[in-house]
Amino acid sequence: MEAAAGVDARLPIRSDLDLVWVRQHVRQAAARLGFGLVEQTKLVTAASELARNTLVYGGGGQLTTTRVAHGRAQGLRLAFSDRGPGIADLEQALRDGYTSGDGLGMGLGGARRLVHQFAIDSTPGVGTTVTVTSWAGRPPRPGHPREEW
């Protein structure tokens, strides 16, 4: 059974200065959990993409970071939430090249490829929460008897 070790931190995402804090915080948290350099870089880059989405499309919001454990595996879960307009067509938003704003249209789709687990929950008019999880080393194997996602 996967166990959340409690919320580590909540960070506001209100300006591009906050993006810098988000990147630094995620980098340090991942390093503490024993993420390798490449895994750190992937997760921080994903966090940067998602935090920018929260800022640009969601009108600001917050990041909640949580340490998670599964057996011996240690991971970091990042939840980006906003109370913005929401995403009407999720499939389209996840497709490469799609963008309604600035950027290369790689934000959501790109971030999804950089993490082990990716979930998005969006209600038009209410807001959007994107939750990603990455694990230090190998992610817990799917199909494992103790696996409960």
Partner: protein
């Protein structure tokens, strides 16, 4: 020069290394006995350490003579597996991590290389380099075997060691100033492909190598995920300002790639590691010239 040595000179570098290991068995064992790995395991008697060194040297000689320097399953290693397991276990009990054991095994290399260089002082530079490379790969495989045996030491260590095994199985060789190569042997799965990519790109930075050669001659099959990893490696190398050449794509693999509908069009490929090296040298402005024919380039 005894007859079998004369033969070795014409034989493969691996065979010549085998002959060398037999010839220098005693000196090698003596030097190894003073290295931390043997000293720490055989604390009581130096003679025991020397004897253990002889056994390992014999095993390596057998593996080299059988031309299986890259094969951790080679028959020669089975002779010493139990002994290596004891040594690895002893080091693990002493609280050493895999990385430290790996370093200690690595420390066995320089004394042997020194002897080899001394022995081949009169050989052509290219021959010496080939032999040195074979010896390096052989000792890398030894390291792999030692770490493999250490793996049985406890489930808690396995994940970490597995990754390190992958790194050990990914020897990056500097072939020339500005040219590095990874000769890949055995099955490539997704995790190993990832390690290969990271190791090769790190070497590109460390050596400031403009050419990185991925030799997959020893890879029996490639699935689509692995082929994608290869292409990602090529793309990442390009972003760093290096060119990645893939060599040794066997016909079966080429067919797989075609079947999978993958486009290798943007990837520089060469039939063999030698061809890839020649390509990189040529691009570096250093062509290989046959001395006898007075200037005809090799390509």
């Amino acid at each position: 020069m005894p007859e079998h040595e004369a033969e070795a000179r014409q034989g493969s570098p691996a065979r010549e290394v085998g002959v060398f290991l037999r010839r220098r068995r005693e000196q090698i064992a003596q030097r190894w006995a003073d290295e931390p790995l043997f000293r720490a395991v055989f604390t009581v008697s130096r003679d025991e350490a020397v004897e253990a060194g002889r056994t390992v040297a014999d095993a390596l000689a057998e593996v080299a003579t059988a031309e299986r320097v890259v094969d951790p399953e080679a028959a020669g290693f089975t002779l010493v597996r139990e002994q290596l397991a004891r040594m690895a276990a002893s080091r693990a009990r002493a609280g050493l991590g895999t990385a430290q054991v790996s370093r200690e095994v690595d420390a066995l290399r320089p004394p042997v290389v020194d002897l080899l260089v001394a022995d081949l002082a009169d050989a052509p530079a290219g021959r010496l380099r080939e032999c040195e490379s074979a010896l390096t790969v052989l000792l890398g495989t030894l390291r792999l075997v030692v770490l493999e045996t250490a793996l049985s030491e406890g489930e808690a260590l396995i994940d970490r060691q597995r990754l390190q095994l992958l790194e050990v199985a990914t020897p990056v060789i500097k072939l020339w100033d500005g040219i590095v190569a990874v000769p890949l042997i055995g099955t490539l799965d997704s995790a190993r492909s990832q390690v290969v990519m990271e190791t090769l790109l790190e070497a590109v930075v460390d050596q400031q190598a403009r050419y990185a050669i991925l030799d997959i001659t020893g890879v029996p099959t490639v699935d689509s995920l692995v082929a994608q990893h290869l292409m990602k490696t090529v793309a990442a190398a390009r972003l760093m300002g290096a060119e990645c050449v893939v060599s040794g794509i066997r016909p079966a693999i080429a067919q797989t790639i075609v079947h999978l509908g993958l486009d290798l069009g943007t990837v520089v490929t060469r039939a063999s590691l030698a061809d890839a090296l020649a390509h990189a040298l040529h691009r570096l402005g250093a062509d290989i010239v046959h001395a006898s024919s007075g200037g005809a380039g090799s390509r």
